[in-house]
């Protein structure tokens, strides 16, 4: 089995910001072409800042743990700051993940960008 850091396992065991959000301002849903996993991210935005974020994940330990870490990293950031976060930032934050699990953090970033895009699209229409 893969070696996971204590921090990642902690987030896996007790995920932060887990669940579906009522009336989100943006939703990102990403499927993982590599192993078939799926992540959903919901954001609430106020004054260009992500004030609340929630996630759902169908995936492995790394995918669940990293989604949870991502929500902590992103919460309170402006949309521009959030956009700048990369998969390697998340991996670093998680205390390293096995190379074969790197794509699970890419999934998180894609879902985040998807949610931000979705928010912007909705706002244009308003």
């Amino acid at each position: 089995m893969w070696e996971y850091s204590q921090k990642l396992l902690d987030h896996f065991k007790n995920p932060r910001n887990l669940g579906k959000m009522e009336n989100p301002d943006g939703v990102g849903r990403e499927g993982n072409p590599t192993c078939g996993d799926v992540m959903e991210l919901f954001i609430k935005v106020k004054d260009n800042r992500i004030v609340d974020i929630k996630f759902l994940t169908f995936g492995c330990v790394a995918a669940i743990g990293i989604s949870s870490i991502l929500t902590e990293v992103v919460k309170g950031k402006t949309l521009e700051e959030a956009r700048k976060i990369t998969a390697s930032d998340l991996v670093k934050e998680a205390g390293d993940v096995p190379p074969v699990k790197y794509h699970c953090s890419v999934l998180g970033i894609q879902a985040l960008n998807g949610a931000i895009e979705d928010y912007k699209k909705r706002n244009k229409q308003k």
């Binding site: 849903r29 078939g36 169908f58 492995c60």
Partner: protein, 399 residues
Amino acid sequence: MKRIYLDYAATGPTKPEVLKAMEPFFLQKFGNPSSLHSFGQETRAALDKARGQVAKFLNCKSGEILFTSGGTESDNLAILGVVFEYYHQAKNKPHIITSSVEHHAVLHTCQYLEKKSEAEVTYIKTDNRGLINPEDIKKAMKPNTLLVSIMYANNEIGTVEPIREIGKYIEKVNKDRDNKVYFHTDAVQAIEYLNCDVKYLHVDLLSLSAHKFGGPKGVGALFVKEGTAIKRLIHGGDQEYHRRAGTENVPGIVGLAKAIELVVRDKSKNEKIRKLRDKLIQGIGKKIPDVILTGDPKNRLLNNASFCFNFIEGESILINLDLQGVAVSTGSACSSGSLDPSHVLIACGFDHQTAQGSLRFTLGEQTTKEDIDYVLSILPDIVKKLRKMSPFGRKNVGV
């Protein structure tokens, strides 16, 4: 924390009696069986005795047993050995029939021959329980068919294949053919639980591996029926009737033979294992919704309980169980180095997402009722928790 091992299909502990039988062959009886002096004669005698014990178990002659480094080598030697031996005799490229649910030791060996253009291969499809229909082997038979290789029992889902029926059919076919069709079975998972009499099964080659039935790791055997020629893969000395060079792993071979002896002696434990396995299957079915029992409900190894849990992924179930002391395995893509889902579950017709939720429990001699009760007490909450996290599982837990 109590640790509960439910992954016996992967491997198990070496039995204390086996270890005890092996011990003298490290410190006192260390001679090389090829040496002519008394040290060598001592280990030669032990080797002969072990070969006799294995032969008795399989109901064959001592000279039909080759010791190897395990199940993988036995499978490789059976397939490559037969193909390389007969390659030059055949008018056409040899044809192999195998199935899509075989262990990688068989599948990848066949694919290797295909890639090297040394054989053509038909992969028989199974039904959704992983069962092979012997009629499909009949249909796949060609004039240039040289080898049929079908596993006795599946390591992931436990399905038991109709080896005897296939063996009898091939024997019949051979009466009307000039070029014989050889029949190999990978019996690595079968030794403890199924009849492995090679005459009953009508097989020409049979693979086994010691660590799957209480013996040490890194030692196995291949039954090669008299009159079946195979090309050696390992070149060097004259050991194993010139068919597998290298100084014999004497302690390992002695351990393998002792473990086989215990399989026969301790047969009665199997009913207890079956009962516990049934309790596990029934308990999971009762306590957890949206679970599929994979493999054949009846025709399966008595220690195997394998499932797909809908809406969630296997590695995350496995790690949750491991954090609470329970060791199992999964065929999920996320857990494999290649990120491919179990080829066995895909062959059974499950979609990728369902296969992701696979989990295998395999019981053994040391499994107790308390172990099963404990699993049944923690698993429902683990599944519920993961379904709450899943974008697919929401409506199932009312979130």
